[in-house]
């Protein structure tokens, strides 16, 4: 394989990364802008971060977002895991193909339709829109992502592990909690994290299903931007980026370490 850096390679890498990260870099830079004008550099300052933490409306919105994210991701993980179990384990029931297709349809469903249909449902059953309906909506659209992640793990799950547990005297319930669940736990955790992330940055579905007093951070940011971008918003976004980036970096470092450790163990085992 040719590993030398040709001029063409360098150009394409630069262009690609610029395309991906230039907007984000600009946003981060301007969050430290002294000037109130978003596009004019007026010197370095952290004053927007200070004023951000004094903006009660934004802090409230962030709190709502986190609560909705935690609750909806947890409920969606339970439901999604159950759906994945049903779809991989009971492969012979009538209408299985239809059912599995329907579980995954929301993945490709335009969000506007998801949001609108949920809104219609809530209105039809007479639910007042607010924190509760917002959480329900988030559960509904993140559940299928969890189901996909957990199902892909279950497909490769060695069923003889469960048979071995039962053979050794564990009841089906004990087998599930002592063997199945611990083995598929990494997939369930990634499903939860995916659901949480999706819930955090959702705007469209939230706008349809939320009501007074339950404004999420993306909704708040979007509505403020319509009145004009303030550097405060840049600061809020920079913090979000920092949180997400830290999470991703920690996760990949941990994964990498575990992988290296596993390889080392396996080689040690081979040597006896």
């Amino acid at each position: 394989m040719n590993t030398t850096w040709s001029r063409f390679n360098i150009t394409s890498v630069t262009l690609g990364f610029a395309f991906l990260y230039l907007p984000i870099v600009l946003l981060v830079i301007f969050s430290f802008n002294e000037s109130k004008l978003v596009t004019v550099w007026g010197g370095f300052s952290t004053k927007w971060y200070v004023s951000l933490f004094q903006n009660q409306a934004l802090i409230d919105a962030a709190w709502v977002t986190i609560r909705v994210g935690l609750i909806s991701a947890t409920v969606a993980t339970v439901l999604g895991t159950l759906a994945a179990l049903a779809l991989t384990r009971y492969t012979r029931f009538r209408g299985r193909v239809l059912f599995s297709g329907m579980v995954f349809a929301p993945l490709v469903m335009p969000e506007v339709i998801t949001g609108l249909s949920l809104l219609l449902l809530f209105v039809a059953v007479g639910l007042d829109r607010g924190f509760f309906t917002l959480t329900l909506a988030h559960i509904s659209f993140t559940m299928c992502f969890v189901a996909v992640v957990v199902q892909s793990r279950l497909v490769t799950f060695d069923r003889s592990l469960e048979e071995a547990a039962m053979d050794l005297g564990a009841s089906p319930v004990a087998t599930f909690f002592q063997v199945t669940l611990p083995v598929i736990l990494p997939a369930i955790v990634s499903g939860w994290m995916l659901a949480f992330t999706l819930s955090l940055d959702d705007l469209v579905t939230s706008s349809f299903t939320s009501g007074p007093g339950a404004t999420t951070l993306p909704m708040k940011i979007y509505s403020q931007v319509r009145l004009g971008v303030t550097p405060e918003i840049n600061a809020a976004c920079t913090i979000l980026i920092a949180i997400v980036a830290t999470g991703v970096i920690i996760a990949s470092v941990v994964n990498k370490r575990r992988e290296v450790q596993r390889l080392r163990d396996e080689q040690a085992a081979l040597r006896g």
Partner: protein, 379 residues
């Protein structure tokens, strides 16, 4: 006839009409949709027996084992263990443990925890669990690896953990599904003897499923040879090899020469068989072959003598030409083409370094055998 099995070891409850059966399959049938995996099968296994189910893949041997473990329910018929009908007893309430082909070790638990799993399920006190686990680790010589996870072990070590885990509960019966299938040849041979020692030491009943006839012959007290969901023969390894009761069994176990023919003459003990080209063979052990019946005469290659001159006084001698020779060091295998075109495989031990009757390709040669060297098969 004295059983060949009793020579090997003084343990033969199957010859004792008063012996109590331990595991009984009574007319067991198992169907998966249109496919019949096990067909009206009856089988008796005795306590402390090392019993092997031998057959090609798809013959129903694993299904039989899984029915005994409780993972499959028979479509009809019943299975008794120590006189008790197992129908309706789920796997987790059967006094039977299984060692899985894939070992099925719990990847998230250490070796210790894997072995302790079954004991904890039955609510054994913690101190007793620890004692039993230590005992098991010692039994399979894995004490230094107690704290390791399965992925930190070699294939042979994993196999031992699986074994220790499955015997830790002292089951009435240990089921082994291709226990040595994943090991390399050298390790497999060592482990065969270890399994036999272990079975003697613990006094358990072992039922092992295997497709490897050598494995079954080495380890088992008796072997059931299966084909298409049916048992073809149940006998000791020596009987299966020396006295097969059907063409299938004779062909399945070891190498064999088959002569097709008709019974021309039948006395109480002997039969004269005429081949399709007129060759005559006189045999003992004619079984139930009646005069005029179409039969096969099966004879193992090592029972055939090969010589350059016609052996004197031999009842059965056939002339041919040496077609192929395979020198294997300890023995030489000759393929001799008879005048009717049939190839006969003859095997001779190289007891001396230099043969006093050297034979080479295309030599004329005689193959001869004693009347009691083979068996007559009608099925």
């Amino acid at each position: 006839m004295k059983s060949l099995g009793s020579i090997r070891r003084d343990f033969a409850p199957w010859n004792d009409p008063n012996a109590k059966p331990y595991i009984q399959f009574e007319n067991v049938t198992k169907r998966f949709g249109d496919f019949t995996a096990v067909n009206n099968l009856s089988l008796t296994i005795y306590e402390r027996e090392f019993f092997a189910l031998l057959g090609a893949s798809g013959c129903g041997k694993s299904t039989l084992l899984r029915m005994l473990a409780g993972f499959e329910q028979p479509t009809s018929g019943r299975i008794l263990l120590d006189g008790e009908n197992l129908a309706g007893t789920p796997p987790y309430r059967r006094p039977v443990n299984m060692m899985f082909q894939s070992y099925a070790l719990f990847p998230h638990m250490t070796v210790e925890k894997n072995i302790a799993f079954g004991l904890k399920q039955e609510g054994m006190p913690k101190a007793d669990v620890e004692k039993r686990v230590a005992e098991m680790l010692k039994l399979v010589k894995l004490e230094p690896f107690a704290k390791r996870k399965p992925h930190q072990l070699s294939g042979g070590q994993r196999q031992r953990v699986a074994l220790a885990r499955s015997v830790a509960k002292r089951p009435k019966v240990l089921l082994l599904d291709e226990p040595l299938g994943a090991l390399d040849k050298k390790l497999r041979e060592e482990t065969q003897f270890e399994l036999m020692d272990l079975q003697q030491q613990l006094g358990l009943t072992f039922v092992v499923v295997t497709h490897d006839q050598e494995e079954a012959m080495t380890m088992a007290d008796r072997i059931a040879i299966m084909d298409k969901g049916e048992v073809m023969q149940v006998a000791t390894p020596a009987e299966v090899y020396e006295a097969p009761t059907s063409r299938f069994v004779a062909n399945f176990v070891g190498n064999v020469n088959m002569f097709e023919g008709k019974v021309a003459e039948r006395t109480e003990k002997t039969a004269r068989i005429t081949g399709s080209t007129g060759a005559q063979i006189l045999v003992e052990n004619a079984g139930d072959a009646t005069a005029g019946a179409d039969v096969s005469f099966a004879i193992r290659p090592e029972k055939i003598r090969i010589s350059s001159a016609k052996p004197e006084g031999s009842t059965n001698a056939l002339e041919g030409e040496i077609y192929d020779i395979a020198y294997l060091g300890d023995m030489t295998v000759y393929h001799v083409k008879l005048s009717d075109g049939q190839i006969v495989r003859a095997q001779s031990m190289n007891a001396a370094r230099i043969s006093d009757d050297p034979l080479t390709w295309n030599d004329r040669a005689w193959v001869s055998f004693r009347p009691d060297a083979g068996v007559v098969l009608t099925r």
